[in-house]
Every structure is written in structure tokens, then in C-alpha cells.
Amino acid sequence: MNRFWDYQKLVRQRKSEFDVFHLIDHSYGQLVHTLPAAKTIVTCHDLDAFRSLLQPQTDPRSQLFKTMSRHVLNGFCKAARVACDSVAIRDELLMHGLIAVELLNGERVTRAGRLFNLRSAPFCPQMVRKIRASKAALVHIHLPNPGAVLAYLASGHRGRLVITYHSDFVRQKVLSRVLDPILQHALNRADAIIVSSSNYIKSSYVLPFYQNKCRVIPFGIPLDHFQRPDAAEVARLPHLYGPRIVLGVGRLVYYKGFEHLIEAMNFIQGRLVIVGHGPLHNALQQKAESCGVSERVTFLTDVQDVRPYYHAADVFALSSVARSEAFGIVQLEAMACGKPVGKYQAGFRCTVCFT
């Protein structure tokens, strides 16, 4: 009664005396209903107060308790800013979609909690409500992302729709049969479709049907950033890896084709340095051993700044072998550092193509 009645009364009486409010304890979130939410900050220490709502199986409570918690939680979610005691709490809040807003490069970002992944595609039911609530004049979806397409169509959004089409469905053959009609519905609905190269439009099994909506906008990179490496680090790397460095950069996933690059090292004098991490790390290390080149192949999984590696390398290799690599932005980065690029032509061509 004190929290829900007396405290509420106090803030109602005194709120006109202040411009900004900071609630020290998230479990007093019900006060945000009375305060101007846009000027209120709440510190969140943990999620225990809301556990009965977020994970009812682990914290079963009475209906009355849940109703009160819901009132507190709704108030908490209305606050303009949430200060978290730790990154773990922030991540938990984001995962449950409770605060859902963060600043990234100064822009407000709303995250929708992921319920599950289906063949690497995230499905976020909250996204339906969030698109609807945003009342956005324009929605921009990056594909392939079947969950986002479904959420968009379910939201009933009536404004403009722009789609950036990064890639066809490549590996998900069965899933694509189910999702293609939904994807086509979204593409029919789109006002514009952005594609990174004209070659990709021609070679796609979907895009030629929407050619009149397609606009080619190649990806760009900040040249200055890549032209100013740490000179000491650039000088140090040849001492570590030898005078002839072949560089590969990218996630260690199937479509990057690093296994071909490792095989090719049998014919190349020098050292292959692969910068990146991913699920194929162990498999690629084994591949290097089985090819007898493990002493000349180095995997670097924890590189903070890749620029010195581009500058120290003699040649950059883009070994991508599947259409999932629709553009290969790393080759632009290598070119920005003045390096020759060798790439594999896998039955598809990008605008940026040096073979």
C-alpha cells in the first residue's frame, strides 16, 4: 500500500518541482506511471522482481502478485532511460525485450527479443508489435531474414517499404520453398529493392522478376580509415609471419571457401594469414594439417584492428565460393590499403571483381 499509494501520492504532489527524475530501484517502476516518463531514468539492479512474469515456470506466484508486478514492469518499460548495474543485466533486459532501446553511434536502436532460430534465421514475435508501435513512415528490411518479413507482413504496416536484398536463399532449399511465396509477397509490396551489384540482379533466381524496382547501390567504406594504419604494427608483422604474406579475412564459415585457399598454399611460397573466427575454425586447422601446410597457415581469431594486416600483406585473397557472399566488402578494404586482390569466380560475379 505504501509503495502503490503513499509514494505515488508524494510524486504526484511534487513532480512539478522537478525537471528530471531518477528512480534508484526498478521495483518502484510503478511510479513512472505518475511521473513524466520521457524525463525519467530508472536504475535496474536485477530482474528478480519480474521473474514471475518473464519465467513463470521458475517463479510461480499468485494472480494478484503477477498483476502488481505487471503494473511495476509496465511503468519500468515506459521510462526514457534505464541505467544498468552490469552489462549482463542490460543483455538480459534486451533479451526479454523490456528496454529494447539502446544508443548505437548516437542512433536509437530498438531490439526485439529472439524466440528461436530456424536454420540460422532469427524469429522475433515482438517485432510485429514493435513495427506497429513505431508508426514509421518507412520500413527498411535487410534480406534474407524470413522472420523480419513475416513480422513486417503481420504488422499491417501501410507506409513505404524498402528492402535491401543481400542474398538469395542459398542453402535452405526446403525452407525456401515454404518461405518463397512470403518473400515474393514482401517484394511485391516493396517500393524499392536495393541490391549491391547489377550482376547479382542478373544471376539471382528471384530478382529478375522485380528488375523495375531494383536500385544498385554498392557498399562503401571510409577510405581514410583504411589508409591510416598503425605503422609500427605494419612493420612488426613481416617479422612475425615472414616476407610473403597472403591474407584472408572473414568469418570461418562454409561460403568463405577458406579450405580452397589452404589447399592452394601447396603451390604458393609464403604464409597464409586468416583473420576471423567462426564455427569452422577446428575443421580448417585440420585441413591445413592434412594438406601439410599447417606450419605456413596462421589463424588469428582475436584481431581488434585488421588494417595493419592488410598493409603488411603482399596479396589479399577472397576465396568465397557460394552466392551467400554477394559482395565481399573485405576486398574493398584490401583495395583501400593498396593491395592486389585475388578471388575465385564461383559462377557469380560482383561489381568489384579482380580475378
Partner: protein, 62 residues
């Protein structure tokens, strides 16, 4: 020009949450020491009104 007036709203003292007092106290101290030129800070706290604890259980009178 007057400074933005910030109200820091803490827990009931009677709830006995030392960690919450600590957060409140540290925030106030920090703002008053390092950002006194940005905010006018006031702590708001409602005293707890005991209602039901005044009613003694009937068993005690027996």
C-alpha cells in the same frame, strides 16, 4: 539560467535495503561533487506509514 532540477527517488528507508541506499548515496555524492554545475539534485523519500502493523494479532491478548 537555472539548473535542471533532478529528483532522486529512493526506496523506503524502513525497507532496509542497504545496497539501494548505497546506490542512492553514491549517485547523489557523485552528481553533487562532479556535476554540480549541471544539475540541482534533491533526494525524495517518502516515510513509511505503518498501518497494518499497528493492529496487534488477537492471539497476544489471549
Amino acid at each position: 539560467m537555472s539548473l535542471p532540477r533532478l529528483a532522486i527517488i529512493g526506496d523506503f528507508v524502513e525497507e532496509n535495503w542497504p545496497s539501494m541506499w548505497l546506490v542512492e548515496e553514491m549517485l547523489c555524492k557523485h552528481l553533487q561533487r562532479d556535476h554540480a554545475d549541471l544539475f540541482a539534485v534533491t533526494r525524495l523519500c517518502q516515510p513509511l506509514r505503518r498501518r497494518f502493523t499497528r493492529v496487534r494479532p488477537a492471539s497476544r491478548h489471549l
